[in-house]
């Protein structure tokens, strides 16, 4: 097996033992990027020099006999929503093209401190708004399973990079499903930690009360290792939880569902769900029972209203969060001819710098917060949020985890939903409730849909700070599938 096909844990072990150098590992991945990324389009920026310098530093530390962290020397693809001092941070938007922040995001800093090698910044839907990366101002990323299809979104560059073996790990942010949905449609593991479990400091905000950084990996243990590296309390983020990180790595190694109570969310089934997705989902349920879990049906009636609530709350917050992109202090400035007013220059810059989906959401949010509409829209959505939290609380009195398909369909063809916002929004149908309530949730691969041969994801939702349960169940399923498939799902991906 070549270096690029190894897991992060394997690479870390090889580097720690001195069998391969961190530079060799990075070189192999940089070569892979050079080879395939023109087709995949996962990266917006490849930081070859910085990556090799970081890899050399890890090798030097090892040579000096320093004890290295569990992922030291392992390359990672970093979503372009995280502030990085040594690379541009654009969020897939023209308005931020070329912007270099004067500071590192907490997640960025922790990756560096842990010795991970940042290969570059990955493509994303502009400001993380979308489910396909088609909303990136710099062109879409493609699904390595089928280059005519989307890799999901918004963290689609991160999912594509890992699925195409350009990196063993990547970071993402999940606001309504932006990690889990792209993980599901590219056959990866993608985790949305408990809200506040990972720091938002330096994450360019989309919707502050929902945004959650999390890991992508090709297996559950790798995801847990990365989760453990960058999560945990951050005094720079007021909403960060001041509690120990749940024992995610131990849980990923435990990999057992014996005696676990698993609830199937009734509401996430039926019309609009692709048959191949439902078939794989039902198989997974059967597999869990086979391995000793008690699988029961659970009703969460308010989940039906999660999507409308989300598409009010997220745009409302984003309309305010994105106000700072005004051409005054940083980023693009358009139309400043010496005669126009600041107000005109702001409006021209924002019109030129934002794509249509961002404009739609800003206007929806502005509308929902306007006097006269606030109560009916934003106010009601916040009440739905309460109801969804109550549904979760009630459900977790009966079961230890909840499961559902991660997304109703497999990866759709590029262009299919590009100018149909409502169709695009459906991709997040099952993932949104966990964002509204702040719960932990993971997507793990559960096979391929018969009708299109594309990956299907299973979502496992756990209570707040119950992140370890997601990994425990995910790892158990992964082990079961490995036996069944004779390897990982990604080995089935067509080469290109």
């Amino acid at each position: 097996m070549t270096l690029i096909h190894k897991s992060a844990a394997e690479l870390a072990a090889l580097i720690a033992s001195g069998e391969v150098s961190a530079v060799e590992v990075s070189r192999a991945h940089l070569d892979r990027i050079a080879e395939v990324d023109e087709q995949v389009g996962a990266f917006l920026h490849v930081a070859e020099d910085a990556a090799l310098a970081q890899a050399r530093a890890v090798d030097a530390r090892r040579a000096a006999g320093e004890e290295l962290g569990p992922l030291a020397g392992v390359p990672i693809a970093h979503k372009d929503v995280f502030a990085t001092t040594d690379m541009p941070t654009t969020c897939g938007s023209k308005i931020l093209e070329g912007w270099r922040p004067p500071y590192d995001a907490t997640v960025t800093r922790r990756l560096r401190e842990a010795g991970l090698v940042i290969l570059g910044k990955t493509n994303m839907d502009e400001f993380a708004m979308g489910s396909s990366t088609e909303n990136s101002a710099f062109g879409p990323s493609r699904n390595p399973w089928d280059l005519s299809r989307v890799p999901g979104g918004s963290s689609g560059g991160s999912s594509a990079a890992v699925a195409a073996f350009e990196a063993p790990l990547s970071t993402g942010t999940d606001t309504g499903g932006s990690i889990r949905q792209p993980a599901a449609v590219t056959g990866l593991v993608g985790m949305k930690p408990t809200y506040g479990g990972s720091s938002r400091y330096g994450v360019v905000a989309f919707a502050s009360s929902l945004d959650t950084p999390g890991p992508f990996a090709r297996n559950v243990l790798d995801a847990a290792l990365l989760h453990a590296v960058f999560s945990g309390h951050d005094p720079r983020d007021s909403t960060s939880i001041d509690a120990p990180v749940p024992p995610v790595v131990e849980a990923a190694r435990q990999a057992s569902v014996e005696g676990l109570r698993v609830g199937v969310v009734n509401e996430f089934s039926g019309e609009g769900y692709q048959p191949g997705v439902l078939a794989r989902f039902h198989e997974a349920c059967a597999l869990l029972e086979e391995f000793g879990a008690k699988v029961v049906e659970v009703s969460c009636p308010s989940f039906r209203y999660a999507m409308p609530a989300y598409y009010l709350i997220a745009p409302s917050e984003c309309s305010s969060n994105l106000a700072r992109f005004d051409a005054m202090r940083f980023g693009l400035r358009v139309g400043d001819d010496g005669t126009r007013s600041a107000e005109e220059v702001m409006a021209l810059t924002r019109a030129a710098g934002f794509g249509p989906e961002v404009k739609r959401r800003i206007m929806i949010g502005t509308y929902a917060l306007s006097s006269g509409y606030y109560d009916a829209y934003y106010g009601q959505a916040q009440k739905v949020r309460t109801l969804i939290t109550r549904d979760f609380t009630a459900a977790f009195e009966q079961v230890d985890v909840l499961i559902s398909p991660t997304t109703p369909t497999t990866a759709f063809p590029i262009g299919e939903r590009a100018d149909d916002p409502m169709a695009m929004y459906l991709a997040d149908l099952c993932t949104i409730p966990a964002n509204l309530a702040g719960n932990a949730a993971i997507s793990v691969p559960c096979g391929l849909a018969d009708e299109d041969g594309m990956p299907v994801g299973l979502q496992i939702m756990a209570p707040v700070l119950g992140d370890d349960r997601c990994y425990r169940v995910g790892a158990a399923l992964e082990a079961a599938y490995r036996d069944r498939w004779g390897g990982s799902l990604l080995e089935k991906a067509p080469a290109f």
Partner: protein
């Protein structure tokens, strides 16, 4: 601009009842900003006290300053407010170049403190000003307008310094103040003065109006007498001194009355006060009502102050200015009027410190309200800005009490201290100002004066005691004012056998 006819203030008050509202912003004197660790020092070079948070850079997040929360609660307690058991910050959304995020983190319908009051004294009468709310927010940056004479209108462009952006700002809003009639300008000023003293006593802000760390907006409307419907109000900003508060209110009463008398309508607008002219001009006219789209700030968590902590803060509040005044008035046995006079020129803390330095209250009051007030007035400075300390005033008083100085000499000593000649004792020594109390020396002077003024001396010998005055004057003159006049008189009478 339309030319407005003013109605004289007195006439205006015969026809209209003013309704006043005050919105006061106070910059807290915390070491660091409201939501980041940048310093808050006034007057630093541009953009040297900024970071990703207060510049509103993408990805940055606010974390609330605990001291700012504590100071706001202490202000609320000092203003007799209820403290919210749970409240949130909100975002106030509007675009403006000096506001880095294009929203201001403020408080909307959940202020930290609400429903309090502040008693102020006007003309010896106590007026209770009801406080609607006290909330916490962040300050904005500062724009310098280039071209167009430095005014925003007609400027070519602006340069923005964000050092001030994010400094904690407490906003104190009164309920409408009614029934003050012609006293309304004085009430406005008295309120601002009292509020400033409360802030000072709490030590939460340096409340320097000239540096903008305390800023007053004056809301005013006129209600025709006999009506119970309030008129349209204007909001006057840029009122940067206590005197301006008073002038702005007066000017706005006259202007609004003029408009109403001419059959016009008051436009709800923001107006700007101009120091030079003492008048207001219209600012932005609001075509459509501002829609700030307030919503709870998702980046900050709700504040739920522990009731035990609030009680602790309440118990450790310093003595507030009004309480102190009442206590001192009793201690000093002064009338309301005397106390009010002292209060008006800011003499109370000075007298208090002079007493603390050992002077009897009556003496301390006499010097500060007499000689020193006169000198401050003459040179157009505040009493507290005179170059003499309460300790020095106490020493002058002590020298008089010892008999070493008389009042006239004491005034010369004060003059010397103010001129920078040193402490009272140093001035006495340097200027040679000391009462001639040496009996022998005085006796010699008296003898000499009697010899030189034989006519007057004769009259006294013949029982016309009143004629002794001229002799006393001559003694004082001969001694260059340093003789004890009483002693000199006694000696003259004795020597002339008229005692």
């Amino acid at each position: 601009m339309t030319v407005e006819t003013l109605t004289s203030y007195d006439q205006a008050l015969t026809r209209y009842e003013p309704v006043l509202g005050m919105e006061t912003h106070v910059e807290l004197g915390t070491a660091s900003k409201m939501f980041c660790g940048c310093p808050t020092t006034f007057g630093a070079p541009p953009n040297t006290q900024v970071c990703p948070v207060c510049l509103g850079l993408p990805g940055s997040l606010p974390v609330a300053n605990a001291m700012a929360i504590e100071s706001t609660i202490r202000i609320g307690l000092a203003l007799n407010c209820s403290i919210a058991s749970w409240c949130r910050f909100a975002r106030k959304n509007y675009f403006y170049p000096d506001m880095p995020k294009n929203y201001q983190i403020s408080q909307y319908d959940e202020p930290l403190c609400s429903d309090g009051y502040l008693d102020v004294e006007v003309g010896g009468e106590t007026i209770r000003i009801e406080i609607e709310r006290v909330h916490l927010e962040e300050d904005t940056g500062k724009s310098t307008h280039m071209g167009g004479a430095g005014r925003i209108q007609g400027a070519d462009y602006s340069l923005v310094d964000y050092n001030r952006a994010g400094i904690p700002l407490v906003e104190i809003v009164t309920k409408p103040i009614t029934g003050t009639g012609a006293l309304v300008p004085e009430v406005a000023r008295a309120y601002a003065t009292e509020l400033r003293e409360v802030m000072r006593s709490l030590g939460v802000s340096d409340v320097r109006m000239e540096e903008g760390s305390m800023r007053c907006d004056v809301n005013l409307s006129l209600m025709p007498r006999g009506s119970s419907t309030w008129g349209t109000r204007t909001e006057t900003k840029n009122v940067n001194s206590l005197r301006s508060v008073e002038r702005a209110v007066r000017s706005e009463v006259e202007r609004q009355a003029g408009v109403l008398d001419a059959g016009g309508r008051i436009v709800q607008e923001t107006r700007h006060f101009h120091e030079e002219t003492g008048t207001t001009t219209p600012g932005r006219s609001k075509e459509e009502a501002q829609d700030y789209r307030y919503f709870p700030e998702p980046d900050l968590l709700p504040i739920a102050p522990d009731p035990a902590w609030i009680e602790e803060l309440r118990a450790t509040l310093p003595e507030l200015p009004s309480t102190r005044r009442r206590r001192l008035q009793a201690e000093w046995s002064l009338s309301d009027l005397d106390m009010a006079a002292m209060h008006n020129i800011g003499a109370i803390p000075l007298v208090e410190q002079t007493v603390a330095a050992g002077a009897p209250a009556a003496d301390a009051r006499k010097w500060w309200m007499g000689e020193l007030a006169r000198r401050a007035n003459e040179s157009g400075v505040a009493l507290s800005d005179l170059a003499i300390t309460p300790g020095q005033v106490a020493r002058v008083g002590a020298l008089v009490a010892e008999g070493a100085l008389n009042d006239k000499l004491a005034r010369q000593v004060i003059e010397g201290v103010l001129a920078g000649e040193g402490d009272p004792d140093a001035v006495v020594a340097a200027r040679g100002l000391k009462i001639v109390s040496d009996e022998g020396a005085l006796s010699a002077i008296v003898d000499q004066v009697i010899a030189e003024n034989a006519d007057a001396a004769e009259k006294v010998r013949n029982g016309k005691v009143a004629a002794a005055g001229a002799l006393v004057g001559a003694v004082m003159k001969a001694s260059r004012g340093q003789a004890d006049a009483g002693r000199a008189r006694a000696l003259i009478l004795e020597k002339l056998g008229a005692s």
